[in-house]
Amino acid sequence: MNLTLLILVPFITAVLILLARGLQQIRVIGLIGSLTQLGLAGWLLKSFLAARAAGNNAAHLFESNQTWFKALNINYHIGMDGIALAMILLTSVIVVAGILVSWTMDKLSKEYFFLLVLLSMGAYGFFISLDLFTLFFFLEVAVIPKFLLIGIWGSGDKTKSAMKLALMLMAGSALVMVGLFGIYYNTHTFDMVQITQQGIPVGVQKFFFPFAFLGFGVFAALFPFHTWVPDGHASAPTAASMFLAGISMKLGGYGCLRIAALMPDAAHAYSWIIILLATIAIIYGAFATMMQTDLKYINAYSSISHCGFVILGIGMLNKTSINGAVIQMVSHGLMTALFFAAIGMIYSRTHTRMVAQLGGLLKAMPFISTVFVIAGLCSLGLPGFSGFVAEMTVFMGSWQNPDGAYRLATILSGASIVVTAVYILRATGRAIMGPISAEHALLADATWNEKLAAVLLIAGILVIGLAPFLINHLIMPSTDAIMLHLDKVTLIK
């Protein structure tokens, strides 16, 4: 089983898209490529579980380690644990959905699909990397497509948003780079497996952890580096929003997790700051969402709040909370992608995203409205949907820390679910329910591709929401492995 296939398939798809002619060919190639990828991810899951069942307890499966730049000890080291696999599955689902909702993109369609596929390639590469250099490489690969997607196909103040997003993400990756250098020059390797084995001196950890963690934090919309999120998401075209919130923000969360595992001492030392920032992000994001009037802004701000849970879970540094953080990443990815898909569908019909100008859409487009409501309910953490599982796991985990301030952080974050209910219901009440305006009454409901995309994402949400033991089973051994490193602390907090 060669994981490089995960990068090759999008690559080939991208090349084929460049060679194709006409929207029809391009989108079919894109869809086939993304479906192949989905199938590949599914097959990976199957072989992963089979290998685990066969008693293969290695931390990373399907490992392959090739020398890349020998002189600098940079290797193309790939492998996959349960967490990475969960992320890969998430990515592949969102990519298929993203291609489906872009089915009728006729403006520069070749470039559009090409960039979408390129973006997904970056994400896949990122998740399978076991070498920090390749990790960083793929992290940055995914930035430029975002810039172009927003800037060219976006709406509103698109160039400004695109610029802000690209610059802030680049600033984040610059910080990451400094952190990685720090690791490299004190361990002489980029290989995460080796680094965890040999450990990093505590002083080095303490100096470089903030760089790397905050750098990834920018990607994960950590307060106060989140300001690219609202504008970026709001301006992006539908599929790009989905990718951005569904995949790209996860790169940050995943990176933060890996960094915490690499530098356990620093993670413990700084955990209170991480938690502080995450709590602020959660509460602040939720209240800021409450005041938004644009559907995309609502979802974007709520993403800040939800991604705060990821960081909170990581910052709490115990097994349950980290499990929760991972589930929250997957859950938020699916949920927010679904949300953006629904908003995109509404926008393409009504040509407005302002809540005040919408109303009673349930009457004209029951399917889209239902999708919207489902996304909303998932967002506010309703049992049966993935959001509940994720948030509750984070709460349970973070509550395990008996320190009073940590407790307070948990309670405050918990309070955000009330605020979430407020803004979700406000938006739903205004846009989906209530009286419908005459001009919207005759709009058509979702088309087959939109329905398929929504169903796919909802299926993902439901699988996690109804059978969380599945994903738990997948990621738990990997979290255990991470905890092994995290508990190897040499300094007492």
Partner: protein, 469 residues
Amino acid sequence: MTYNILIQLRQELALALLIFILLFIKLGKDRSNESILNFINAVLFINLAAGFCCHETGALFNGMFNTNALIVFEKDLLNLALLIISMQSYAWLKESKNVIEFYILTLTSLLGMFFMISSGNLLMFYLGLEMSTIPLAAAANFDLTKRKSSEAAMKLILSSAFSSAILLLGISFLYGTSGTLTFSILTAHINGNPLQLFAFILLIAGFAFKISAVPFHLWTADVYEGSPVAVTSFLSVISKAAVLFTLVNMLYQVFTPIANTWYLILVVLAAATILIGNLFALRQDNFKRFLAFSSIAQVGFILIGISGSSQAGSASMIYFVLIYIFSNLAAFGVVSVVSALTGKENISDFKGFYKTNPMLSWVLTIALFSLAGVPPTAGFFGKLFLMMAGAAKGNYGIIIFAALNMVVSFYYYLKVVKCIFMDENTSPIEKITVPTVSKIAMYICVVGVIVTGLANVVYDYINSISFGL
């Protein structure tokens, strides 16, 4: 023995021969520009290919002239750059009346650089330096009728004469304190007394002037803007690369006893260069001026790499220069074609460029991304390796500073991309028919930009032939 000389001097001899051939062609009957250009490009290609054929380590003329695998490779890089520039300038040169003069000037300058790189003696170094500079001043004035061109040439010749004077003063003090001009003997006499340090600073200032490190960079932007695009490319890529190679040779081999001193100087220069280059690049609208400041910022990164004073330092520098040749020349190639065929050189003229010229837009975009250091282009690897080399010294301050500056640089590169792809324009530059030769050159650059990074062989080879302190 004679045979040996031929091998070791073969690149210089080839250039000299070519210059003579061109002089004879000039004397002979008039030929069409196309045939001359095709001939020259073919010869340059053969010259480039021949460069790779064999190399030998050795010294000639009592250690005046050194050569080894690294030096040969460096010269090959310069040959390659010249070939690409020549191909890209096809459209411009075709219309020019003085094609042969252009080549004579640039080839002479290149020959000077070769000697400079190979020099094992301060006198040889000085001669090579001047030989490479003076023809360039003349070349900068190549657009005889343009005001800006003569202004640029004037600024170049005066500034470089001044810098030569400073450099010479430095050399004279070095001579005074050591009594020798030969590098191998000089090293033993370097003891770091104040006069020697002062002399060294003067010498470094001369180098810094050539590679346009702040605050010795001020001529750069004006000269780049005023000169014809081909000359600008030459200045920004070849001339800089040659001096960088020489600088590394000298620092790593001659001034080893005062390594700590020059490390500090390099860090200070690097910080200033990156910062000022970036801050000025932010505001530029003229494409050449913009690229001038961006190249200044790039030099700052190179200085960080050099300051690592290790094998990785010199390898990453050469590697980056190779990447820089591809990416900067790809950018200049597009500007050159556009400028030759439409006369437009401003960034704002490129608004909506993608609608009319998608191919050129992509070339330019990829080039800019490579300059900005975005994967998967090679610029990413180049910049990262430079910074890794620099970080090896443990001075993370400069690395953090450089990392933050990368963000600033990202802004202005993206601004250009934004212009090309996103800005609306009612009258964009019309569709441009690119001459095939130039197109090939651009493709070479683009392929180079992508392959150089991802394929590890390039770096591995460079690393295998480079050496550290």
